[in-house]
Amino acid sequence: MASLGEQFLRRKPVGVMAEETGADTEGGELKRTITLFQLSLFGIGATIGTGIFIVLTEAVPIAGPAVVFSFVFAGVVAGLTAICYAELASAVPVSGSSYSYAYATMGEGIAMIVAACLLLEYGVSAAAVAVGWSQYLNELLDNLFGFTIPESISNAPEADGVINLPAIVLIVLCAALLMRGASESAKVNAVMVLIKIGVLVLFIAVGLTGWSSDNLSDFTPFGVNGITSAAGIIFFSYIGLDAVSTAGEEVHNPRRNLPLAIITALIVVTSIYLLVALVAVAAQPLAGFEGQEAGLSAILESVTGSSWPASVLAAGAVISIFSVTLVVIYGQTRILFAMARDGMIPPFFHRLNPRTLTPVPATIVVAVLISLLAGLLPINFLAEMTSIGTLVAFLIVSIGVMVLRRTAPDLPRGFRVPLYPIVPLASIAGCIWIIQDLRAVTIYVFFGWSAVALVWYFFYGRHHSLLGRSSP
């Protein structure tokens, strides 16, 4: 029997991974067909949207108009982590999530922690966007039909409601579609990205007419602390950027193009976010943000005095957030599938329905849990929890990059972090800085969750690990 330490650090051989995913390790290389331009577009599409629809309401009361700096700060940290992640991903010649990469490079225990972070990120962000969706749905219903869903069944208990029913309905709907085997085609995905960018541009254009410099006179009412605290919530709107990191194998000249694509996507996305944030804080006094529902829509309505721009924006949000929820729940169930395949969680989670080939039991469990989160928890808590999961996962990745340079210097890497060791160190520092400024309750809950994951690993994972059983 291997010792706990050995178990914790045992790594999944890359050959096994390649076998499982059907990748051909011999002739190993995928075709390098992606250009810098395509990869940048891919990154923009994967990142933009969703978060921006809901974070201003939470972030502006913390940072004031200086929230624009929070966007820059969160964006820079997101970019640094994405570059570090790219090196880790390139060290493993098969595709997978950061859980799979961690398992192959840093060992089982670390992979379990990364998985816990990922599950938190996906589960909680699905809940957060579903809550945001319910707000925009209510706004849209109000504008179009003068009817709103009663507070008691469209708000979490902490926000004077009983349960957030629309959010739950959205999640159940997405889960049902996924169980039937629904997927989003590349075309639909492109349309969704255009809708998101379209409504944000609409917001910027229309919102500019309500520009009032008075609102910006006290630009940093809460100082640097306010800026970094808000960055913790805002980080949530940069999730998705890491999708670029995994394309290392398919991109031309990854050493040059990968960081460039990450930076290009980051600049475009951050610029749009900055404009949205700037227009918002200029159009509405600080006091207006606190507790505002369907923020962007509401601002447009008060700026123009008419309801149609607000309705268009709300409609765009309702459509695009729906697709985001679908994608996130999909991701959640597939991560669980990978973990169950490795024996880290019960085999129940990799059971596929024989006809639809979808992991139906896992989807049901995920839908129930996310529904509970979305139905019962307020949105600011959810947004922060998402951010901390992502931040810790990438903190581990950044540390892992440095550790691997020492422990496995000869490991072939398709991509190496430029300016080593400045980039990973800056990434680590950025993550820690944002994390320590999050609310205490968020950090406690996160530690609680990680402890649960480790206890789970101690009592279940390390005994059931497929890797452990195959090599006694």
Binding site: G96, S185, F337, L357
Partner: protein, 295 residues
């Protein structure tokens, strides 16, 4: 000529293979056995689904291996995995790519149901639990006939002649008896039904005469009427034996050469004890024109 066979990746659907083998042996066509699995999903964030996709592909490969074992060796067949957004959509794509003349699928369910409404090529449906001996051929083609579908009958006759089978025209007189409480008696409709049967029988005779004059006529012709209070009863009322195939036409004509399955046709397919082939109207017309043209 090619038959595309939809084989569910769960490895069930032995009936589909039996039917495909029987049809292919009769017509001399090749088979393309296809397992449709979910297409890769572009927006998947950071490829979290790599493990799942690998598993799905693995399952499909296993299923195709099983299909390879079960199909008789004398039937030339290719096996492939196709990625698509849904099973019906995937089968149609494969059918188009391989210029299939028939799609072979399993019993009525969501996939077959959707195919019947969208397929531009005839769809052959194996009834639940369908089995046939490994050397079976089509020996008789039965065309479902409601009086006005001469094209379908002529098309069926042409196919029957080509595969050396006989032709039968079957009409189905389905009449639920009125409830006792209607006050008109339980046999009030019988006279009307008898009239309809007389009409359909004479129409069938004249259609058979047309068929008899075709350049290539099937070796034997007959017409039958099945009676029953439900479609199931009416279908069982005529005799069936091994080697039978029932041909049903789409009941609606449309500008698109698609199968729009009327309630009559879908009920016949659902209750048919033998394999059914649903032929889109456009295809029936085409086949009938070909058959009528002097060789």
């Amino acid at each position: 000529m090619t038959l595309v066979v939809g084989f569910a990746p769960d490895g069930r659907g032995r009936g589909v293979l039996h039917l495909a083998a029987m049809l292919a042996r009769s017509t001399g066509d090749d088979l393309v056995v296809c397992a449709v699995i979910p297409a890769p999903w572009p927006p998947s964030p950071a490829r979290v689904d790599a493990e799942w996709r690998a598993e799905v592909e693995h399952l499909a490969n296993d299923a195709l291996d099983r299909a390879r074992e079960r199909l008789p060796e004398d039937i030339p067949a290719r096996y492939l995995i196709h990625h698509a957004r849904s099973a019906p959509a995937g089968l149609l794509e494969v059918a188009e790519e391989h210029e299939a003349n028939v799609l072979v699928t399993g019993p009525m369910g969501s996939t077959t149901g959707r195919l019947l409404h969208t397929s531009p090529v005839p769809v052959a449906i194996a009834p639940r639990g369908f089995r046939c001996p490994p050397d079976a051929r089509v020996t008789r083609v039965t065309a479902a006939y409601a009086g006005a579908d001469d094209d379908l009958v002529v098309a069926a006759a042409a196919v029957a002649a080509r595969v050396g089978a006989s032709l039968r025209i079957a009409s189905f007189a389905v009449r639920a008896r009125p409830p006792y409480t209607s006050g008109v008696g339980r046999t009030a409709d019988d006279a009307m039904l008898a009239d309809w049967v007389r009409e359909i029988e004479s129409a069938a005779r004249s259609t058979l005469e047309t068929v008899g004059h075709l350049p290539a006529a099937p070796r034997a012709l007959e017409a039958v009427v099945g009676h029953g209070e439900s479609w199931e009863e009416a279908l069982e009322d005529v005799e069936w034996h091994d080697g039978d195939v029932l041909v049903v036409g789409s009941s609606a004509a449309g500008p698109l050469a698609r199968v729009f399955l009327g309630s009559r046709a879908s009920k016949i397919v659902r209750h048919s004890p033998v394999p059914a082939v649903v032929v889109p109207r456009g295809v029936a017309v085409e086949l009938a024109e070909e058959a009528a043209a002097p060789a």
